[in-house]
Symmetry: C2
Subunit: 238 residues, 2 copies
DNA sequence: AACGTAGTCAACAGTGCTGTTCATTCCGGA
DNA sequence: TCCGGAATGAACAGCACTGTTGACTACGTT
C-alpha cells in the first residue's frame, strides 16, 4: 500500500512547479490556514525537506502560490503582461466582450484556481492592488466612456459583479459538469447570459416608470430610511 | 496587561451566543481550517472548558456556526421561514427588487457573515441545497415567467451572478466604507447599479447586430472552436 | 440557606505541524 | 570520472491545538 519512493528525477524547476501545484490544490481545498508543508509535500510526492529547500517557510510557500495563480490568470485573460501597453489599448465593446469570454473560459477550466485567486484577493486589505483586477476595471472604464456604452454605468460595481460571477459560476456548476464538453456548455451558458444581460437587462423597462425614477436621483439619495428590518416582499405593480 | 477574569455572568444562552459570535469572527477571518477552539474561547472571553461544554467538538462548533449564519441570512432577506408559503408568493418585479435590496443591505451590514456563508455554501458538494439559495432562485424563476421580464433569461446564471455580487461587493468595498453612512452609500450605489443594469444593460443594443446574432443561436452552439489560448483583445467595430 | 449547574482552572496524553540539522544517496553536467 | 547539488530520510525541540478529567467557585433558583 505504501506506494513508496521512486526517487524524483533531478530537476529543480519541475520539482518547484510540482510543489506549487500541490500547494494550489491544498489551498483550493482547505484555504490559507489549511495549508501545511507536510501535506503539500505529501501531495507533491516530495520529501518535506525538499519543500523546505525551495521555500524557506510555510508563509513564503503560500505567498508564492498565490502570486503564481495571479500570474496565470492575468496571462490567460490579457496575455503576456510584458507586451501590454495600457495607453494604446482598445476599448470597443468587442474587446470587453472578448475579455469576458477569456475570463469565463479560464474560470471554467480552472475552477479552483479562480476560487483561490478571488478569495485571496478579497482577503487583502487593498484588493484593488491586484494587477488583474486593476487592469480589468480600467479597460471597462475606458469602454464606459465611449458612446457605445449606456450612460450612467457604475464601473466599479459592475466589475465586481462580473468578476465575481465569472469565478463563482464554475464553482456553483461543478457538480453537474464533469466532462470537457459539459464545461464548455456551461461556459457558453454563462457568456450568453452576460451578453443578454448587457444587451437587454432583465426588465422590460418601458413598464417601470417608477424604477426609472429611482435611477434618476443618483447615489446622492440620503433622505431615505436607514432601513434595518427585512421589508417583506409584497404584491407588486404587476 | 493580562486583562484577566471577570467571571462571566451565568447565562448559558448568552454564553453560547458569545461563543458562536466569536466563532463567526474567526471563521470570517481565517476560514474553516483556521478555526480553533482555543482561539474562539479566547475571543469570546470564555474558558476553553466552557466552549467544550456547549459544543462537544471543534467540528460541531463550526457546523453550528455555519447553520447559525445561514439562518440569519434567510431571515434577513425573506423573513421568518415558518410563516413562509412559497406557493402563495408574489413574483412581481417590485418583489424581486425588494429581495435584492434586502440582500444588498444585509450583505453590506454583515460583510463577514456574507462571505462566510458564500464560501461555506460553495464548498459543499451540492450548493443548491442551501435554503436561501433555493428560495432566491425559485422566486426569480417565477418572475422570469411573467410578461414583465425580458425573454430568454437564464435564471440560474443570473442568480449566481446577483448573489455573488451582493456578497462580494461589501468585501471589496470595506476598505473605504467604515461608518454606517458610508456603508449606506455604498449599498445604494450597488442597488442602483443593479437596477440600472436590469433596466438597460450596458450596451446600446441597437448598435450591435452581431452580438444580437450571438444571442440568437442558443447554448446549442457546439461547432465553435474549443478555444484554449487567450484571444488577444483587438480593435473592435467601434 | 442549600442545591444544582454554569463557568473557571490546571493538568494530561496525544497528535500534527514547523523549522532545523546532519548524514546519505545519486543524478547530471563539466 | 568526479563533484556539486538535488533529493531523501530521520531525528529533534518546540509549539499549538484537541479532547478529557477532576476539583473548584460562585451564581440563581427554589
Amino acid at each position: 500500500m505504501t506506494e513508496k519512493r521512486t526517487r524524483r528525477k533531478r530537476d529543480p524547476e519541475r520539482t518547484r512547479e510540482a510543489i506549487l501545484e500541490a500547494a494550489r490544490e491544498v489551498l483550493a481545498q482547505d484555504g490559507k490556514e489549511g495549508v501545511s508543508v507536510v501535506e503539500v509535500a505529501r501531495r507533491a510526492g516530495v520529501n518535506r525537506g525538499t519543500a523546505y529547500q525551495h521555500f524557506q517557510t510555510r508563509e513564503q510557500l503560500i505567498e508564492a502560490t498565490a502570486a503564481w495563480v495571479s500570474d496565470k490568470l492575468f496571462r490567460a485573460v490579457f496575455g503576456d503582461p510584458s507586451e501590454l501597453d495600457e495607453s494604446e489599448m482598445p476599448a470597443g465593446a468587442a474587446d470587453v466582450d472578448r475579455v469576458n469570454d477569456n475570463l469565463a473560459e479560464f474560470a471554467m477550466e480552472n475552477p479552483e484556481l479562480g476560487r483561490i485567486w478571488l478569495f485571496e484577493v478579497l482577503s487583502n486589505k487593498q484588493p484593488s492592488n491586484d494587477p488583474f483586477w486593476r487592469f480589468y476595471e480600467s479597460s471597462f472604464k475606458r469602454f464606459a466612456k465611449t458612446a457605445l456604452a449606456q450612460p450612467g454605468i457604475d464601473v466599479e460595481v459592475l466589475s465586481v459583479l462580473l468578476i465575481s460571477g465569472a469565478f463563482i459560476w464554475p464553482v456553483w456548476v461543478r457538480s453537474h459538469a464533469r466532462t470537457a464538453k459539459e464545461r464548455h456548455q456551461m461556459m457558453k451558458r454563462y457568456t450568453r447570459e452576460i451578453v443578454r444581460l448587457t444587451m437587454h437587462g432583465t426588465l422590460r423597462s418601458e413598464r417601470y416608470p417608477d424604477l426609472e425614477n429611482r435611477l434618476g436621483k443618483r447615489a446622492a439619495s440620503e433622505e431615505s430610511k436607514p432601513a434595518s428590518k427585512p421589508k417583506r416582499a409584497r404584491k407588486a405593480q404587476g
